[in-house]
Symmetry: C2
Amino acid sequence: MATREKSGCPINLSLELVGDRWTLLIIRDLVFAGKRHFREFLQSDEGISSRTLAERLQTLQDEGILTRSDDPTHGLKTVYRLTEAGIDLLPVLATLGAWGSKHRKADERLARIAEELAAGGEAALERTKTTLRAEHIV
Amino acid sequence: MATREKSGCPINLSLELVGDRWTLLIIRDLVFAGKRHFREFLQSDEGISSRTLAERLQTLQDEGILTRSDDPTHGLKTVYRLTEAGIDLLPVLATLGAWGSKHRKADERLARIAEELAAGGEAALERTKTTLRAEHIV
DNA sequence: CCGCATCCCTATAGATACTG
DNA sequence: CAGTATCTATAGGGATGCGG
């Protein structure tokens, strides 16, 4: 990515990083599907290519949204985790999910989950965030 | 756009429509800058091209996010307005703006506005929505 | 097996100029 | 004024390769 900033508008700055077809899907998989490894991200229903995935993981790391580390139990594997800045994207995912549930033909089961998270407001978001943070300490 | 659906995930369905560099900037200009005409969108700081703008306005209309109509006071002009589905994207803009304010180097003044809207919660969002709806009746 | 890097090729984005 | 035509640049899919 690394496009030069086109304006200081907060919405624009956010979109310069996450405003594409794939970035928020990767973060969704980190948050809701508990994915941590390269191969797992490759296997999402939407089918990201390995080339695009590698590039996005790199820039997300460069921009402080996630961290890369070695899997202690399995030398070959690399573990990706969200930083605080990444976890803070949860409200964006929640509002996007709520909108999709309401205005697009979403899968019934997933739609209900999205609506519940959105309806739960701040409290529900905080609970999810706490769960995500716990993993870093472990 | 019109890419065939890659999954029924609500977040994915949202991203298939608004997950790109420009769509949410157009909606931002409709919501916060009160823009209504083709030329006005062209003049945003980020500099969208006329071709891309025309295409996005078309698909947004096709997907029921905005409406196109003639300006009664000025025969040549076309007026773009958000539908209810479009207005419902406001929480997405709000969370994106809040994230950008907190985690990117955003313009001071705009950052404060974004933070206030986010901090205001549901009530602040509802007030903005009401203002937007009023325009349709007029 | 793992996380990528590289290559090739096509689809789409975008700049610029122009039209009804 | 709201868009198109045309041309070029880039993003991205898919196959394959490669060091650890």
